[in-house]
């Protein structure tokens, strides 16, 4: 048994009743066909109750993988996937692909949730970008949030699509694993363009997205910050003050000096991106 199988089984044991545990143990030791059917039919045998998991141990094995909000049935599905034999790459990929091809919504969620622990991670790149293209909210969320797979494997292009689509759909970008580490110039410039479009339509941009421009400032973005300062919206102003205080871009410091109150607040450490991490966004 691999260490990740072990960790997940412990979590299952901590949550499942005797009958469920028996089912999981029997099915996970069956042949591929039976494991596939078990993956599909799991909700018939496993409850959707909240799980208990030792996060510390989990994150030693798979950093940043957020599974504490999963239900038992989702966890069991991922656990079952870890029992599909992976020694033959071609056969393995075919077996997983069959599940993707025929999946209903909750199965897709489980499959995408499992990407960080599936074998041959490079084989799932196309699938993962398909989830980013998905219009099904929970499917997008499964790849986008608390999932280290994009951070570890996405190209810059795919990464930027993930972040942009998240912002576009008013979803909380701070739940994306590795958000700051993978910030890049192209993304910063696209965000600026995106903000201009939204402003032209008299709509807002969630304030926390500006955290992604700090290290990639240019004159256009500096002008955007000025607009934020003047917007009469405390969240926008907070974002602008934070960027100005964090960036080394010339002109940012003097821009901040025009707003002494905000400058004082940011210097005293009273402002943080955390304050702008909004979960429930309205349709603006």
């Amino acid at each position: 048994m691999t260490s990740i199988q072990h960790i997940l089984l412990s979590a299952i044991e901590a949550t499942a009743n005797e009958k469920e545990l028996e089912w999981v143990k029997t099915k996970s030791n069956s042949d591929v066909k039976a494991i596939q059917i078990a993956f599909v039919s799991a909700p018939r045998f496993i409850r959707k109750v909240a799980i208990r998991i030792d996060e510390k141990v989990l994150h030693e094995a798979v950093p940043d993988w957020q599974i504490e909000e999963w239900t038992l049935e989702r966890l069991v599905r991922v656990y079952l996937l870890l029992h599909i034999p992976s020694d033959q790459s071609e056969e393995y990929v075919k077996n997983i692909e069959t599940l993707f091809d025929t999946a209903e919504i909750n199965e897709l969620v489980a499959l995408y949730s499992a990407l960080p622990v599936l074998s041959y991670p490079e084989k799932w790149l196309f699938r993962a970008t398909e989830a980013v293209r998905s219009n099904m909210g929970v499917v997008f969320d499964a790849i986008g949030f608390g999932n280290p797979y994009p951070f570890l494997h996405f190209s810059e292009l795919a990464w930027n699509q993930l972040v942009l689509k998240c912002i576009f759909n008013d979803k909380p970008i701070h739940l994306i694993v590795g958000l700051e580490k993978r910030a890049n110039r192209k993304l910063a410039e696209t965000l600026s363009d995106f903000a201009h479009e939204r402003w032209a339509a008299d709509r807002k941009v969630p304030a926390q997205v500006w955290r992604l421009v700090t290290n990639f400032m240019n004159d256009t973005i500096l002008a955007d910050l000025d607009k934020l300062f003047q917007s009469n919206d405390i969240q926008n102003q907070t974002a602008a003050a934070l960027v100005c205080s964090e960036t080394t871009f010339p002109g940012a410091e003097s821009l901040l000096e025009n707003y002494p109150q905000l400058r004082a607040s940011v210097q005293k450490g009273q402002l943080s991106w955390k304050q702008l991490e909004v979960h429930q966004l309205c349709y603006v």
Binding site: V40, E104, I105, G137
Partner: protein
């Protein structure tokens, strides 16, 4: 799959009632919402794949809280397995999601429809993948299957799918033919019994006055497809409930790509109310009986829709409101300014 294209040709007006019935129909059409306040509906046969989001909105507004979408014929024959697979996947995936955006719980039945059963090489392949879908969450039966032209191929795959249903312990939703209906219905029931399936696990669909008595007498569920402004939707359905009561009878819209009305269940409830049918009987035929029949699959949890829940899996899965995937914002269609 209700073959209404032929009816459309025969009855372009789609209204066969008397002058008096027409007045009633117009009244129901204009005022049905007044009669069904606080009622909840379950439409056990509706093909939302063929409908627009406006229909979902209208269903939600009319009190339809849950629906079943049977797998059917899309209006032209499929030519390959992949399109079947994508269709089945959409019934448990995209369509389910689309429905959830309007707070409507979406279930489906999965099966090889009778018409396409006649393409045997393709039918063989479809039978191969059916088990992968039948065990899925929210799949509440095998359907809609049965006879259309009553060919040997149709019979072969009907029997085969009855065995799958028995093995998976799933209810069966049986489409009955439009031509030679009475005999086709009797034959469908006899074969189901022959395969050892309990009659209470079988929902015989598209009944009329000629078939209903035998269906109920033998212990099957009897479903009626309502086209509200033909005679069936008006006096006939009310008369059937008056005559046979509400036990094991359910009504559905079977709305699809033909002329049909997704609000047929709600409107028929209004008509029943007008005609003095009791609230109890109305509830049985527009809600409860369908739930009782299909809940035998073990896949219906009434808490998912009984108390006006908003979204299903998102809530269960994440407990985090933003992760719901976005309830559709309400759009005011009367507004002139579009923002």
């Amino acid at each position: 799959m209700c073959n209404k294209h032929s009816e459309i040709q025969q009855n372009p007006s789609h209204f066969e009632g008397s002058a008096e019935e027409k007045v009633t129909a117009q009244h129901v059409q204009a005022n049905f919402m007044d009669y069904i306040k606080d009622m909840k509906f379950f439409d056990p046969h509706i093909h939302m794949t063929s409908r627009t989001t406006d229909d979902y909105q209208a269903l939600a507004d009319a009190g339809v809280v849950a629906i079943i979408e049977p797998a059917f014929w899309l209006g032209q024959p499929r030519t390959g397995l992949a399109t079947f697979k994508d269709y089945f996947s959409s019934l448990v995936g995209w369509e389910r999601f689309r429905s959830s955006q309007f707070g409507i719980k979406h279930y489906c039945t999965i099966g090889l429809n009778s018409r396409e059963a006649n393409n045997e090489p393709l039918a063989e392949q479809v039978m191969e993948i059916l088990p992968l879908y039948l065990y899925k969450e929210g799949v509440v039966g095998v359907g809609e299957i049965g006879f259309d032209d009553q060919t040997p191929a149709e019979e072969k795959y009907y029997r085969w799918q009855l065995d799958l249903a028995k093995e998976a312990n799933l209810p069966v939703q049986v489409h009955t033919p439009h031509r030679d209906k009475r005999k086709g219905t009797e034959r469908s029931m006899a074969i189901a019994l022959e395969h050892g399936i309990a009659p209470n696990m079988v929902i015989i669909d598209h009944n009329n006055e000629e078939t209903v008595k035998s269906v109920l007498d033998q212990g099957f569920y009897a479903a009626f497809t309502i086209y509200p402004f033909t005679k069936m939707g008006n006096e006939r359905m009310v008369e059937i409930v008056k005559q046979y009561g509400s036990e094991r009878i359910m009504i559905n819209s079977a709305a699809d790509w033909g002329i049909s009305d997704p609000l047929a269940v709600a409107k028929t409830a209004a008509l029943m109310k007008m005609k003095g049918i009791s609230d109890h009987d109305i509830k049985m035929v527009t809600y409860q009986n369908a739930i009782d029949a299909f809940a035998q699959s073990g896949q219906i949890n009434v808490e998912d829709f009984e108390n006006n829940t908003v979204i299903d899996q998102s809530k269960t899965f994440n407990g985090n409101t933003i992760l719901r995937g976005g309830q559709q914002p309400r759009i005011d269609k009367n507004a002139i300014v579009i923002r």
